[in-house]
């Protein structure tokens, strides 16, 4: 089989426009996901089952079902009901872009909440006790000590989640969005050169991942510089 990479050059502008769509999807859902995840994680830590119950169920549901199913439920499922189609939500829900953002945000916030919770609970008990001894209120303790501390601990695992989200965003192509994968498949439908175009798309995903990894290295170094040259010991699953 001969490979003909001239198709990659010919269709590069379209691949790049797909890349831009992928970046928008990932950035927006990561930011929204983090905003939803923080209160979820804090509520999840609570020892009061009335407060921790709902976040537990939320995280359990969105981590336990496939993202593809969640996307289909939001995009095709919701639109089956006339109530939804006539509601004020329809202008948003009829757009595949927003359906993808909703599904991705719900999904990534569940994972991110667990990552945040893990980070907060990984803070040595002694530091928490020290806060209490000084007489900090719970709010002061979280704002001054626990959340900044957790931020340093969370970075490696959180970077990992962003890369997973980047790859999961390929599922947006199933609801007509022309993200990098969707664009690649549309090009292939015309050129019948799956190997060349998918190789090119794969290379672009790899490049984005490299940028994400690099940014997280920088932030990690800065955030954890009080640890000296030794970097923080959190297993890197990447």
């Amino acid at each position: 089989m001969e490979l003909d990479f001239s198709v990659v050059i010919e269709y590069l502008p379209r691949l790049l426009s797909g890349t831009w769509m992928t970046i928008k999807l990932v950035l927006l859902s990561i930011v929204l996901g983090a905003i939803v995840a923080l209160p979820l994680a804090l509520a999840r830590i609570s020892k009061n089952p009335l407060i921790s119950g709902l976040p537990f169920a939320y995280i359990f549901f969105f981590r336990g079902t496939p993202l593809l199913v969640q996307i289909f439920l939001v995009y095709y499922g919701a639109s089956q009901f006339e109530v939804v189609r006539e509601s004020f939500m329809w202008p948003v829900l009829r757009e595949p872009f927003w359906c993808a953002i909703i599904a991705f945000t719900l999904n990534t916030s569940a994972y991110t909440a667990e990552i945040f919770r893990g980070a907060i609970q990984a803070i040595p008990e002694g530091e928490v006790e020290a806060c209490k001894v000084i007489g900090m209120t719970k709010t002061q303790m979280y704002r001054r000590i626990l959340l900044p501390r957790a931020f340093g601990i969370v970075l490696p695992a959180y970077g990992n989640e962003i890369i997973l989200m980047l790859k999961a965003s390929a599922l947006a192509s199933t609801i007509t969005l022309l993200d990098l994968t969707g664009m690649a498949r549309t090009i292939i439908a015309r050129t019948y050169t799956p190997i060349e175009i998918f190789l090119a798309a794969g290379a672009i995903y790899l490049l984005i991942s490299m940028v994400v990894i690099y940014i997280f290295r920088l932030v990690e170094k800065r955030q954890n510089r009080y640890l000296g040259t030794q970097s923080i010991k959190v297993p890197d699953k990447g």
């Binding site: 089956q80 189609r85 595949p96 007509t176 498949r185 015309r190 019948y192």
Partner: protein, 251 residues
């Protein structure tokens, strides 16, 4: 049993297994279809592929006295899969086009298609311009290609993995109008629960659209299929299968 005997007998078994395996692989014709294109090919409640294409496939195999296996594969993976020998033929209502002929060989046609617009009843369209409309079609089909060639810059085009998803979004109102093959849509209008709210718009076009069986370039399977096709058309088998799905001839 001594070690020697054991080794010998297992060697015999292995050779026998290997021979039967190669014999099988050579004789069985693996035919791929999509399984999401009723009534031409779809998956029934038992998970078996059914439909016009599948009936034709079995009729051809019987005619050729060949051992066949029908497998399903997503639409846009059919030609790539054929090229890398995942299967030996595609009987999936695939139109014979110039682009595809550069990749694969086609047999003679086994039916003829045509494209036609589908939209909600009571809405009027200027089918020549369709400016600003949201038009849907299945990805990697003649319809999608026609839309890309004609309305790429003036309308919003949406492409789906399966025709069923196209219908879903037409019903939900995300699509103004759909372009698809006339025959399966004819079936959808009649059989689906929402069919009564929709109708064809305009006449069908691209009637020269011929549907053939795709095989790898240079494969002599093409000739075998052509002979079998001629035979089942002559002996009335084709007509019987046709009548099962459409009250008119689709050849």
């Amino acid at each position: 049993m001594t070690i020697k005997k054991l080794a010998l007998s297992s060697a015999v078994i292995l050779t026998a297994a290997a021979t039967s395996f190669t014999a099988n692989a050579a004789d069985t014709i693996r035919i791929a279809t999509e399984g999401a294109w009723a009534p031409f090919n779809y998956i029934d409640n038992n998970g078996e592929p059914q439909g016009f294409d599948v009936d034709i496939a079995w009729a051809l195999c019987e005619q050729m006295e060949a051992d066949c296996k029908v497998v399903t594969q997503d639409w846009d993976g059919l030609i790539p899969g054929l090229k890398v020998r995942k299967f030996d033929a595609i009987i999936a209502s695939m139109s014979i086009t110039e682009e595809r002929l550069r990749q694969v060989d086609f047999t003679d046609k086994y039916y003829s298609g045509g494209l036609r617009y589908l939209a909600p009843k009571g809405k009027e369209f200027d089918l020549d311009s369709l400016e600003g409309k949201v038009i849907g079609a299945q990805r990697a089909t003649l319809a999608a290609q026609y839309l890309e060639d004609n309305f790429m810059d003036t309308a919003t085009l949406k492409f789906y993995d399966t025709q069923d998803s196209v219908y879903l979004d037409l019903v939900s109102g995300r699509l103004d109008i759909v372009l698809s093959d006339e025959l399966p849509t004819y079936d959808w209008l009649k059989t689906s629960g929402n069919g009564d709210q929709f109708e064809f718009k305009g006449e069908s076009f691209k009637k020269e659209d011929e549907i053939g069986i795709a095989v790898r370039k240079g494969d002599d399977l093409k000739e075998k299929f052509n002979q079998a096709l001629e035979a089942i058309i002559d002996n009335g088998t084709y007509e019987q299968i046709n009548a099962k799905y459409f009250p008119f001839s689709i050849y």
